[in-house]
């Protein structure tokens, strides 16, 4: 955590990377940090502004093809996200934001250069993946099952330098087998919008990575009820 002991949450380029509900991840991290008495500063950085390098958690949302390739170009030119990662910052990315953390992705039929922060490449799939997504999360992360909703046309191929976030049990994720990826403190998923609403333990993992300390438990009765309902909907 930064020296002023405020947890700094940075939403990267909401003008380019923000689709339905992406703000939710920022709100949920701030809420859960607040429940633990951690002072939080949320910063939204537009694509015409320099990215601050002293953030603790960087969030990247979904977006359409044009804005996605523009965001990737600007982040490469800015260099701030790479410097923040070198400092040990946490990155959480969904959908288009997840793809652009990789080595390359396709936007408007053209291969685009990614940020090379995760060893993966993305291209277009034969069909759009829309619907409930569920899977068993990599046991090293010690988290309960992943539940989410996906809506994307991409397929992602993982290289040897990253771990899959989860093994898919419902939905498509990366390729019908695995979903998302992580390495170090960088984590990406196709679970779009407010992924953390249904996965509060994942939110707490990001907070733990950022603060370097264990967090006291909070009352998760409602998120647990939501998880139970969604996971049983895909089980039937």
């Amino acid at each position: 955590m930064s020296t002023d002991s405020q947890l700094r949450l940075v939403w990267v380029y909401p003008d380019l990377l923000s689709t339905y509900g992406d703000r939710g991840n920022l709100l949920i991290l701030a809420h859960r940090a607040g429940l633990r008495g951690l002072p939080v500063a949320s910063v939204e950085v537009r694509s015409d502004q320099a990215l601050p390098v002293d953030g603790d958690i960087y969030l990247l949302g979904g977006g359409e093809d044009g804005p996605q390739s523009l965001a990737s170009q600007r982040l490469l030119a800015d260099g701030g996200l790479h410097r923040a990662v070198d400092r040990g910052a946490v990155v959480f990315a969904v959908c288009a934001g997840y793809q652009l953390l990789g080595n390359s992705f396709y936007a408007k039929g053209t291969e685009c250069r990614g940020l090379e922060l995760l060893d993966l490449t993305s291209d277009r799939g034969p069909s759009r993946a829309v619907g409930e997504l569920a899977g068993d999360i990599d046991s090293r992360l010690g988290l309960p099952r992943l539940t989410g909703f996906e809506n994307h046309g991409g397929r992602t191929h993982l290289g040897p330098e990253v771990y899959p976030l989860a093994r898919v049990t419902t939905g498509i994720g990366n390729d019908g087998q695995t979903e998302g990826a992580w390495r170090g403190k960088i984590l990406g998923t196709y679970s779009h919008g407010p992924a953390l609403a249904r996965n509060p333990a994942l939110a707490d993992l990001l907070l733990r990575w950022a603060t370097g300390s264990m967090l006291p438990p909070v009352d998760d009765a409602w998120p647990d009820a939501l998880r139970k309902e969604r996971l049983s909907a895909v089980a039937s």
């Binding site: 809420h31 044009g66 804005p67 779009h192 609403a197 409602w222 309902e229």
Partner: protein, 410 residues
């Protein structure tokens, strides 16, 4: 009034449309407008064009406010004569076909059009005026993205010589409409900005100050409006202020009324005459109507997307409020949009939640810092509030469920 004869095939298709609709209503399977239109179009694919021909037609499209604006415009146009309309909200070509078949020959028709079907319906009906209200995110797992929708509209307006009435406060609508040869601009407002920060023309940021907006990278900017919503009324193109007294709540409905007046003005309807008719509109297919049940005065508000929820909070009175959310096919299967809505206007009210996806709403309200009570049914909600007013805000199928419990209130 036109007495143009329909060709034999169209006649047959028209009568099939009517009887199928009547059958569907009689068997209680719905209002019949979709099934009837589908059968009619099967017999004669050209039926909508046949039925439209000879009428002066108005089309109304946009993400929100279509049904209400269609009703207000129909009321205003009724000053001139009989008006056919798809007042029940069946807003695809099958619904238009059915509405026109059912109405018989009328000199005028006012049709609500699903934004995805605008091009097709323009082709079939050759309207005299098209009113474009707004564009915002709606049911992401199905709808086209907002910018793509605006581009489709723009393309279809560019190739036609048509009178457009468009919302000058919505950058997406402005960009789509500005290619039309004749545009009447209405300052109808835009409470929801989150789908129009990026210029659809050049990709630069849209800047806003007060009522004004402009692109920081190109020449796109807010056109000078001819009609403006001000205070409790509307200012017309001559600068004259008219008080608008509707039975429908909220600023957004005064804006819908302004659009209806601007459309009717193209047919030379006098504003005072139009307003007198619009004032008679009490409710729209269950929306806004006040219903009494067990000593509770209940009003239903329908909100289908984030922009609609912001408008509903503006309309809602400060009384106990039930929020009902489903995610069935007509609603869209994804509930992510709940995080695009700031529920804080409800803070401090007695908030109740229900519906198939009440748990999504429960988590959202918790994160928003709003206390709430979960109730398993509408009946339990009624039992949980004291006698007096109850406001209900619901999305599409949740609204229909509650409306059914209130005996399909109109």
């Amino acid at each position: 009034m036109t007495t143009k004869k329909l060709p034999m095939r169209a006649k047959l298709a028209t009568s099939a449309t009517r009887s199928a609709a009547a059958l569907s209503r009689a068997t209680g399977r719905g209002d019949g407008s979709v099934i009837g239109g589908r059968i009619g179009l099967m017999i004669d694919p050209n039926l909508l064009a046949e039925l439209a021909s000879g009428r002066q037609i108005v089309l109304i499209s946009g993400t929100n406010g279509k049904t209400t604006t269609t009703r207000l415009t129909t009321a205003a146009m009724s000053v001139l004569g009989n008006v056919a309309t798809n007042g029940l909200g069946a807003n695809m070509p099958t619904g238009h076909t059915s509405a026109l078949a059912k109405a018989g020959p009328t000199p005028y028709a006012v049709l609500e059009v699903d934004e995805h079907y605008l091009d097709q319906v323009l082709d079939a009906t050759h309207p005299r005026v098209v009113a474009l209200l707004n564009l915002s995110r709606d049911q992401l797992d199905r709808a086209k993205e907002v910018a793509m929708m605006a581009a489709l509209w723009r393309e279809s307006l560019a190739k036609r010589d048509i009178q457009v009435v468009a919302n000058a406060d919505d950058p997406m609508v402005t960009w789509a409409a500005q290619v039309a040869e004749h545009v009447t601009w209405v300052a109808a407002g835009q409470r929801w900005h989150d789908d129009s920060w990026v210029c659809p023309e050049c990709g630069a940021t849209i800047e806003r100050m007060g009522d004004a907006w402009w692109c920081s990278g190109c020449t796109l900017h807010r056109p000078v409006p001819q009609w403006t919503v001000q205070h409790d009324g509307v200012v017309d193109p001559t600068g004259t202020y008219h008080e608008v007294k509707l039975q429908l709540p909220g600023r957004v409905n005064r804006a819908n009324a302004a659009t209806a007046l601007a459309v009717a003005a193209h047919f030379r309807v006098r504003i005072a005459d139009a307003l007198a008719r619009m004032t008679e509109v009490k409710s729209i297919a269950g929306r806004y109507a006040m219903v009494e049940r067990d000593g509770r005065m209940i009003r239903l508000l329908l909100s289908k997307n984030p922009a609609g929820w912001l408008e509903a909070f503006d309309m809602a009175d400060n009384v106990p409020t039930l929020l009902a959310i489903n995610a069935r096919d007509p609603d869209g299967l994804d509930t992510s949009w709940l995080y695009d809505v700031d529920f804080s206007p409800l803070r401090g009210r007695h908030v109740l939640i229900t519906g198939d996806r009440a748990m999504d709403l429960a988590v959202r309200l918790t994160v928003n810092g709003i206390a709430f009570q979960h109730v398993p049914s509408f009946g339990r909600a009624l039992a949980s509030v004291p006698p007096g007013r109850l406001e209900v805000i619901a999305n599409y199928t949740a609204f229909q469920d509650i409306r059914a419990e209130l005996d399909r209130v109109n």
